[in-house]
């Protein structure tokens, strides 16, 4: 039974090593914030962080992430107040909302490395994440807003640690 470290907690899951992480997280550990969209690495709805890198959990097998640090949308921040989450609310980004966990997790991995991205960098980083409601322009605005907030916070000396 593989043991996974998710959002700082150690959890064992009754799944074969070749089980996609997505299904273990969602259906077995019942953390349903991570979404299933395509199962083929084509939409980004299932994005989580493994050791701080954004990965597609539908393409990541449980056996490959044992011992690694996994973060899902539920663990991105303690109270849903990551600068990106706040920016998502400020810009009123979500429509149906289904893609947005993945969008936020994907964006978080960008801002963790680059808190001053250009529009082109944002587009390049986010292009693998589909939004069928087409909220793309608000996603861009929210990322820029969060980046600004993170830069201001870091200038003020209370930098967040990347997840």
């Amino acid at each position: 039974m593989p043991t996974l470290t998710i959002n700082g907690r150690s959890m064992s899951v009754d799944a074969a090593n070749d089980t996609p992480l997505l299904w273990a997280i969602r259906e077995q550990l019942q953390m349903t914030g991570t979404k299933f969209g395509c199962g083929a690495g084509l939409c980004g709805a299932c994005t989580v962080h493994v050791n701080g890198e954004a990965v597609r959990s539908c393409q990541t097998m449980v056996g490959d992430v044992a011992g690694k640090k996994i973060t899902t949308i539920e663990g991105l921040s303690a109270k849903g107040d990551h600068p990106l989450q706040k920016a998502w609310i400020a810009e009123q980004v979500p429509q149906c909302g289904y893609c947005q966990s993945g969008q936020i997790m994907q964006a978080a991995s960008l801002l963790a490395k680059n808190s001053n991205p250009t529009k082109e960098e944002v587009v390049a980083h986010m292009d693998g994440n589909l939004c069928r409601c087409m909220t793309y322009s608000r996603i861009q605005k929210a990322i820029m807003r969060a980046a600004t907030e993170m830069r201001t916070a870091s200038a003020a000396g209370n930098e967040r640690r990347p997840t």
Binding site: G37, I89, C96, V123, L130, C131, M134
Partner: protein, 764 residues
Amino acid sequence: MNKHVKNVTPETTDFSRRSFLVGTAATGLVLGYAGVPGVGEALAAAPANFEPSVWYSISPEGLVTVTCGKADMGQHIASTMAQIVCEELGAKWSDMRVNLASNDPKFNDPVLGAQITGGSWSTMMNFEAMSRAGAAGRMALTEGAAAAMGLPPYFKDELVVRDSMVTHPKSKKSMSFADIVKSGKATKTFTPDELKAIKLKTPDQYTMIGVSVPQIDIPSKTNGTAKYGIDVMIPGMAYGAVVTPPVRYGATVKSVDDSDAKKVPGFIKAVTLDDKTQTTTGWVVAVASTYANAKKAAAALKIAYDGGPNAKLSSQSLLDEAKRLQGLDDSGQFFVKDGDVSAALGSAAKVLEAEYTTSINIHAPMEPMNATAEFKGDILHIYSGNQFATRSGAIAAGAAGIDPKFVVMHQMWLGGGFGRRLDADMMVPAVQAAKAVGKPVKVIYTRENDMTMDFSRPLTYQKVKAGVDGDGKLVALSHDVVSAWPTQRWGIPDFLSPSVDKKGPLDAFTVNGSDFFYTVPNHNVRAIKNEMAHNATPSGQLRSVAPGWTFWAVESMIDEIAAATGKDPAQFRISLLDGAGKNDGGAQRLRNTLLAAMGLAGYGTKKLPKGEGMGVACVSSQERATASWTACVAHVAVAPSGEVTVKKLTVATDVGTQVHPDNIRAQVEGAALWGLSLAMHEKATLKDGGIEQTNFDSYRPLRMSQMPEVAVAVIANGEKATGVGEPAVTVVAPAIGNAIFNASGARVRALPITAEAVKGAMKA
């Protein structure tokens, strides 16, 4: 909404004959319509235990929870309903909550008499009812407060209601909604006449309507807590993975060999569907203890099929059949028959003729179809995000072999709808698997199931003939529309419309939009059902439905006529929007919208480099009776290779009244990008009876990098609120097609537009 729609279910709730009750229940104050006509008054006498159709409730803590009978698929309709109630009730926005309704007929739409969400109808049709419900609540609370404060009842007019507080400025007394609820004094019954007599606020008194309040559902959609159908967990449930046949419709299962599936740990059973509702054909569900194992088991099943009657068909066969049908004089039925088209075409100075096509398109909401079914005693519980609970409940019942009244549908947030979740196919495997294994079962489609079994936007073929007189005036238009009939598939006669030539009902959801607001004295529209496509590719309602193709033809042809007669396409449209006769009102609004878009885009004023151009289109989506007014100017660059870059879309839309300006912008922008995606990127094809595209690598909705600049102008002129979620979908494709012509002289007539087609048309 089609004006012929009356009662979809026998249990229709006719609110015009119902009392509205405000009473105390265990949970606080409940407000809603009496369950049965005439019983309201009796119940009001015993308010502690009555159970009205709860439209909203106020808890002893003062939280106001509005029950939304509409499917919320990202249009934030639940939040909007709360906003409308909040306006008249006088509550504080932060006290408002929403709740999604079950399929109980008491939550049926007050106008439609069913639970159905589509056609951008929701705001329009519920505004008044929700406003009255809010106002009735305020009156009950005010009177309750007067009583609790010890003021004589005639003081009630001196009370001010604001931010969940009732205040009596003269005596400086005040009471919160919470305290009034706790006092138990807010009990009141309104007869239908009293409810109707309530004077609602006038727009100048609004403090909530027209304000972009934060949407109630949004925080839960940023932290993973919003629950969609796919997130439902029932203790002890098993999982179903669907194996669908290679043919979209009509296949049967000859045999299932589960010997390899049995080796998968946790495998329970392979269930071959016996679908009496005929929603699905040839489906098998592999049931296992986890979804991962259900998928493994599904992959291990060896299934032999009989492909059935459609197994040889392709997109080309459907198109050939459409052309054959259009060529017959007696096909189809008339939707519009004004004047004498053949005489006018006969005497016209110039006749233009063109064919327009659109491909099969797939809804592909980001949340794949899913449903969870649980039998509990006599009751079948279905958990699924659905746009048409009334019909879907009946399909679930049909799949279970029980009466629909024993089905409870639990609504969830929808991970996208776009019309896809009007259908109920996902309930069938969940119900039959749950029945077969004696456990609750959650069925989740793979993306491949979801795409190949979509109730798609049908392939359409349209032939348009236009006659112009010696002065270049459009005198005749004949328009034939050949398609599968998505709405007829529902089997609900009330959703069909009578034909003008009395040849039986037609599916107006295949021709809406063609009855435009241009003045054309001789005008025919013929709706022709493509039976072959109807059977092979059961079609559905895709965001905006018919106007998504009818305006492609109409707005392209109008442009072609303008070009042929040497007129500016925008000015030509304006001349046709003269507001004569039946077009009075609508035509002028559409004209103004077009002018707004032209102004914002700099149409005719901006100098464009070679290879760039602007095109216009204006549409009156949805149905004529519930029209809204939208125009678009597309700015494109066309490379010599035929490659088209959409540089900017400028959309103007007349929404009448804005309930939530920011949401309108979000919806209009999303709709415009949908329009772009359908115009340039999305194409599905049929081969050997099956849809060829299986995932987002071959079916490619717009991505962020493909997004042009979008400018939106919202015109709020105080008219009634119109729908905003759909019209902009329909206006973009013709605007782009017309812009391509303006830029390069290439006329494209097939959607989606390809570089190849543009290049081919350039040479011609």
